[in-house]
């Protein structure tokens, strides 16, 4: 397909922008739903996120950026391997692997680099 309007991508990404207010770091296994993302496999979280507006993707398509975090709360002493974005209530929005695992200790804080959520152009 040679062309899809940016608006088509943006209305999908707006869902992440509007609802993505909590990020968790996850351990043991890649989370598959909201419950696993925020409880079963969560070892830390940061609430009150303000995901950025849609913008051009790095290669093509469109993206939103989850801002870098410097003060996430670690809730369990584990090795985090994934992140997950939710609305903090019931919606599972996105998840992915961390670029490197992080050993974290309960009661400490964690940091994360900014995360791009991108919808690539059709091939």
């Amino acid at each position: 397909m040679p062309f899809i309007s940016d608006e088509v991508f943006d209305q999908g990404l707006d869902y992440a922008d509007t609802n993505g207010t909590r990020i968790d770091i996850n351990y043991t296994a890649e989370p598959t739903n909201y419950t696993e993302a925020t409880s079963t496999n969560s070892c830390g979280n940061k609430t009150g996120l303000n995901t950025g507006a849609t913008e051009p993707g790095d290669t093509d398509g469109r993206k939103v950026v989850v801002p870098a975090i410097t003060d996430g709360s670690v809730t369990a002493t584990q090795t985090a391997g994934w992140w997950s974005l939710t609305d903090g209530t019931s919606l599972f929005i996105a998840a992915g692997a961390l670029s490197a695992t992080q050993g974290v200790t309960s009661g400490n804080t964690f940091t994360l680099d900014a995360i791009n959520i991108t919808i690539r152009d059709a091939a």
């Binding site: 296994a29 739903n33 419950t35 409880s39 079963t40 090795t79 019931s90 992915g96 692997a97 309960s106």
Partner: protein
């Protein structure tokens, strides 16, 4: 018993038991065929991590590539069994997973017990999952 649908995918029974749909984590041989994007998600690739955090095809990475990956959660070499989330139900149906709110055995920084939703069962059939969840929640009263 209060059955509360938080959205179309997630139901809570008095916040003691939950039912939520989700894809399965499937096991398959780690090989070039199964790492094709048509078979598994593009994130599952040589040098990437499987659903359990292990580096995929570690044995085929160059020394430089090994220096750039984090193998602290283990490795899966060519021909061994890897785990992948079947996000698009290409191999297995999504399941209704049942979770119970239980003491995880961990303590928080104040020394209080940490409770987590812990998976206790899973079903293809939604009605069966809800029936099981309701019975479990009633048993916790």
């Amino acid at each position: 018993m209060n059955e509360n649908w938080l959205n179309e995918n997630l139901c809570s029974f008095d916040e003691k038991v939950r039912v939520e749909i989700g894809p399965q984590i499937i096991e398959m041989p780690c090989n070039d065929d199964n790492l094709r994007n048509e078979v598994t998600h593009p994130n599952y690739r040589k040098g990437g991590r499987d659903a359990l955090g292990r580096i995929i095809k570690y044995n085929e990475l160059t020394d430089d590539e090994r220096d750039q990956v984090d193998a602290s959660m283990g490795v899966v070499n060519d021909g061994e069994t890897m785990a992948c989330v079947d996000w698009r139900e290409k191999h297995a149906p999504k399941l209704w997973k049942v979770y119970k709110w239980v003491d995880s055995g961990e303590k928080d920084k104040q020394g209080k017990p940490v409770f987590r939703w812990t998976k206790i069962n899973e079903f293809v059939d939604k009605a069966e999952a809800l029936e099981f969840a309701k019975a479990t929640a009633e048993g916790m009263q």
